[in-house]
Assembly symmetry: C2
Homo-oligomer: 349 residues x 2
């Protein structure tokens, strides 16, 4: 529990940086006594915050840089100027082995590009992917890709399945997770070419997880499988649609509970129950998009989150590092035959 | 209001056919005094139901057939045996001009295949699409394609935009609807090749609607635009994800409101308000997937709906027929230049 793990934080990324980053680190440290923190960013702005964070006094260190990646920088710009930025230096700390993982609430495209460039994809992985946990009827599931790769072939999808399952074993603690491939129907004949071919490969491979075939959009919130695999276009739309629908529902409920005096009184009585329900879908407890398939742990926090949300993202980074997620992915690739599709198909694609 | 419109119903399609079909027709007729109904299916089963449906006595007629498309028939099977089925004959009634539209709660793939084969796509439309209304923060929007075409090119997406806008003008009564193209970000550089090319074509065309560029998943429940355009794979996943998330939320709310006696009492007081909220997202009032881009009106009702839901599907069919939706689509195709992409690109695709 208290094994020492060092996490590098991009102190300048996110809407309310560096304040939320420092307070998030303090919350995470409260739960993890062995945690060490490297804060990359503007010393003049971080130092006064750190002075007030009593729990971080003996375990956090500031690494000064004046450069920060802007929220609207393109990934290309980030690659050019970003390596000396708070984000870039935090990632370098993982590459050098000084830190076990990096967390940033900054520009997603920049974090993805810099992480990929500095940490490099794992041997055998063509395309790293963005994954995240979300609440379901059964608890929680992880979905990938959420937007790193908008156009995917069957081979990419198969690798996403391996990476997602390794995440479920490591971070979610499931010995043999179930995996579903997102499609428009459960029948074998349905779907586009990529999902049909990916299903065929997965059905014929040795796997350290349970491949359950196709799942549909409604199976995501139902928690039909522990891991949902899809291309980055569909995954991004599905995740944002679910978030938007939850907001719509919350808004409708709020309006309904204000619509009469009976409803208002009812709300006062049911308030703590209704709030506990909101906690179950509170995005702060599901904060942290993780990049899977890299030589190193890189976690993206929502830009607009608060200290609680940022602490969740740090927790995920610690669990990924402690569970040697990258090693598991490499093992699973070997188990499935060292490659996930026959050589002749690979040459043709 | 009371203009006579004849709608052909597949009386044998759906989980509780023919009962739900006959009672749905009665409800629809109550709202539309000019409505005439043709019921295709097994006379022995329909006749006793019709005898009890007083409002349908003078305006409904049974057309007997013993053949019915099964829920698990493949589209190919439906095409071979289905033309003499209750579904096929109901569609034929639209093709012959006897009915202005057809409604079926039967097998979606079969209805799509038979409608396309019998009614034929409109001149200039390459791929008919499946569209549906859904509730949003601002009221309601229509999304397409929902699964008729799992792989789409830019040209298909542009045609979906034209067809969706024509539906919004006709059925939703919006003189100049707004249209958004579903993507993983709002910036011009994001997305897959098809959406980027479609956006470019739409920006350069004369349109009878307001093209607002890219929208994201969370914009769907937000009601950011009146029409949401996407490929059938993404649209199917997004719609089912939204439905599943709404169910998850309802279930969490139900559990919360049972969790303590205070919550139970609160629920009793707020009950009618909470139920009115559920009505706002009640799928029965959004029942009816419509096939756009055909020479004739064809509407798919949910297989598991009740009479209220089936009546909604009939309403949509009547509105589409009364508003001459097909003519509007053809006009809009002409307005945009008679074709939706430059001839040289078309030849190459």
């Amino acid at each position: 529990m208290a094994a020492p793990v060092t996490i590098a934080l991009d102190a300048m990324g996110g809407d309310r940086a560096p304040d939320v980053v420092v307070r998030g680190a303090e919350l995470a440290r409260e739960r993890r006594p062995g945690l060490k923190i490297l804060l990359f960013g503007d010393r003049a702005r971080i130092e006064p915050l750190l002075a007030r964070a009593r729990r971080l006094q003996d375990c956090a260190e500031i690494r000064h840089t004046e450069i920060a990646v802007a929220a609207d920088d393109k990934p290309g710009q980030a690659l050019r100027k970003g390596r000396e930025s708070s984000m870039g230096l935090a990632i370098e700390a993982v590459a050098s082995g000084e830190a076990a993982g990096v967390v940033s609430a900054g520009n997603t495209g920049a974090l993805m590009a810099l992480s990929k460039f500095v940490l490099r994809p794992l041997s055998g992985i063509d395309r790293p992917a963005l994954a995240a946990l979300f609440p379901t009827m059964r608890g929680e599931s992880v979905m990938l890709d959420l937007g790193a790769n908008v156009q995917c072939d069957a081979n990419n999808l198969v690798q996403f399945a391996l990476m997602g399952a390794a995440f479920a074993r490591t971070v979610m603690g499931l010995p043999r997770p179930t995996v579903g491939l997102l499609n428009v129907g459960e029948e074998e004949l349905k779907g586009n070419d990529a999902v049909k071919a990916a299903a065929q490969i997965l059905r014929g491979s040795s796997l350290s997880f349970e491949f359950q075939g196709f799942v549909e959009g409604n199976d995501i919130p139902r928690g039909a499988t522990d891991v949902i695999v899809t291309d980055g276009f569909t995954g991004n739309v599905a995740l944002k649609t679910a978030e938007g629908t939850a907001k719509l529902y919350t808004e409708f409920l709020k309006q309904a509970l204000r619509s009469s005096w009976r409803a208002r009184v009812g709300y006062l009585l049911a308030r703590s129950a209704i709030e506990s329900m909101r906690d179950r879908v509170d995005p702060r407890y599901y904060n942290g998009g993780v990049f899977l398939g890299l030589n190193g742990v890189s976690v993206k926090s929502h830009g607009g989150t608060d200290a609680t949300g940022f602490a969740t993202a740090i927790d995920i980074a610690v669990d990924m590092a402690a569970g040697s997620l990258a090693d598991r992915i490499v093992e699973d690739l070997k188990l499935s035959g060292g490659q996930v599709e026959p050589p002749q198909e690979r040459a043709a694609s």
